[in-house]
């Protein structure tokens, strides 16, 4: 097998800046280790030091995939739009076909989790800072047709799964909880 000179040179990477690369590897491994440490004081202290590096390099990670518990609440987001003429419409995040569209839907699904859950809830990933921008987004979207929106109310629609072996029924009835209202005044949408 014929090898070019550059191939031969590259094959000897062990002699090229090995210490620099080793240091880099050690820092990366340490960063990943910190990012995956169990919760606690040691984690908080180490993470506060490593955070800039983890975020900047994209190595910030926490592999809580359906963990520590998968959520048992089915979550939907609705936005009730009241218009100046008194009419009411409802906006829901878009959904697509399950085959190809599910890749798009997964983004909205993740977003809904952050948008409707309480920050101190059981699953702990509620991000209240999203509420106002969602309401404004919906107002702009709905304001493109019909009468001017005067308020947008975000509604959490949930049902809880009954654990296996304890049903039927396998689901509690759905209930809707309004949790944020944005009153709109002045300019259209």
């Amino acid at each position: 097998m014929r090898r070019s000179i550059s191939d031969a040179v590259h094959a000897r990477v062990g002699n090229v800046r090995p210490l620099v690369i080793t240091a880099f590897i050690v820092v990366v491994l340490a960063s990943i280790a910190v990012s995956n440490m169990p919760d606690g004081r040691a984690y908080s202290a180490a993470y506060s030091v490593a955070e800039p590096l983890l975020v900047a390099t994209g190595l910030d990670q926490r592999w809580r995939i359906f963990a520590p518990n998968p959520r048992s609440e089915i979550l939907y987001l609705e936005a009730r739009v009241v218009r100046a003429d008194g009419s009411v419409s409802t906006w829901r995040p878009p959904t697509s076909n399950p085959l190809i569209g599910s890749y798009r839907d997964s983004h909205w699904r993740k977003f809904v989790e952050h948008a409707v859950l309480q920050p101190d809830g059981r699953f702990g990933y509620g991000w209240p800072y999203l509420w106002r921008t969602i309401a404004l987004y919906v107002a702009r979207l709905e304001g493109q047709h019909g009468s001017r929106p005067v308020s947008v109310t975000l509604i959490r629609r949930t049902a809880t799964e009954i654990p296996p072996g304890k049903g039927p029924p396998y689901l509690t009835p759905f209930h809707s909880t309004p949790y944020y209202t944005l009153a709109l005044t002045g300019a259209r949408g």
Partner: protein, 323 residues
């Protein structure tokens, strides 16, 4: 100490053929291309200043530096989207590979830092792989870069230190071990209801699993413990050469099942792509050689097509023979 140092050097730096890296690069680039495309329908909703998430200003103290944290006008969002698509294609064909890998990393981080609320664990893995790929000699084989530099030896796989590929392997292993660790803290994983609860989430379902699976405590318990066992096996035994094919096959089956049942985005695809980092260079080279042979057969068969566009009996025979 010398033994340890030697083992460390051997693991990270002992040169090996770049066939594994080339295959990983191509598949990862294709994944990135489709990942980027999946953002298109909601580009304005997710990333424009008047979208669903407020902009996050650059905060270097916390490591935020994404392009869209600096400026997120619609023109910039669209430009970044196009640049990421083009970067993915360049990475796929290995054109200016190092630059393409940097573009891909910057694009992915910029989108993810702009709107963190829409991304999941699969996206985090894609981002991590993009980071590692920047440091790998990913364009040294099966690439336009290779073709330009060494046209005569395009099908050869020069040996390089595999340390960047090893980091991807470590990342995969960590993913599973950390995931099992987190799960063991949850009652649902310990009492066997976790799989049932996950599959029963209507809002998460892609194709609904049959009721007898979702609602049976026995089946759920078996599947829950099986999931934990497979994750732990992949995380640990993937380092054992003999066990590797089996545990990766088990892991792949698990991820394909998850992908069919739940809307987890690119999570399964990202993990399966990362599995390619464990393909031995010999196996990767054999895969490429087999594909090349198939291509030669296909080309020969096409060349022998009769003017009427039909194969003759001789051609069909030739297609089935070895080349």
């Amino acid at each position: 100490m010398r033994k340890l140092s030697s083992a460390w050097s051997g693991f990270w730096f002992s040169p090996e053929p770049t066939s594994t890296l080339a295959i990983f690069r191509i598949v990862f680039a294709a994944l990135t291309f489709f990942w980027t495309l999946s953002l298109l329908p909601d580009l304005w909703a997710f990333f424009a200043p008047d979208g669903v998430e407020p902009p996050h200003p650059i905060d270097l103290a916390h490591g935020d530096w994404g392009v869209l944290n600096l400026v997120d006008t619609r023109a910039v969002v669209l430009a970044l989207f196009i640049v990421l698509l083009v970067g993915s294609l360049a990475l796929l064909v290995g054109f200016r590979t190092r630059l393409a890998s940097i573009v891909v990393f910057v694009g992915i981080v910029s989108f993810m830092q702009r709107t963190p609320s829409i991304f999941n664990a699969g996206d985090v893995l894609i981002r991590a792989c993009a980071f590692f790929l920047m440091f790998a000699p990913a364009g040294d084989a099966l690439s336009l870069d290779r073709l330009r530099r060494n046209r005569d030896s395009f099908w050869e796989f020069p040996s390089r230190a595999p340390w960047a590929l090893r980091l991807i392997q470590v990342q995969v292993s960590v993913l599973y071990v950390a995931s099992v660790w987190e799960k063991l803290h949850g009652a649902a994983w310990r009492n066997g209801t976790a799989v049932s609860l996950s599959l029963g989430l209507q809002d998460f379902q892609r194709f609904a699993a049959p009721g007898f699976i979702v609602h049976s405590l026995v089946i759920s318990t078996v599947l829950t413990y099986l999931t934990l066992a497979v994750e732990l096996m992949v995380g640990l035994l993937v380092w054992n050469r003999a066990a590797r094919p089996l545990v990766l096959a088990l892991g792949a089956s698990m991820h394909l099942s998850i992908d069919a049942g739940l809307r987890v985005g690119f999570f399964s695809e990202a993990v399966l792509t990362a599995y390619l980092a464990f393909l031995s260079p010999a196996a990767a080279t054999a895969c490429v050689t087999a594909l090349r042979r198939q291509r030669s057969r296909f080309a020969r068969a096409r060349w022998r097509l009769s003017p009427a566009g039909e194969h003759t009996a001789v051609d069909v025979e030739a297609c089935s023979g070895d080349v």
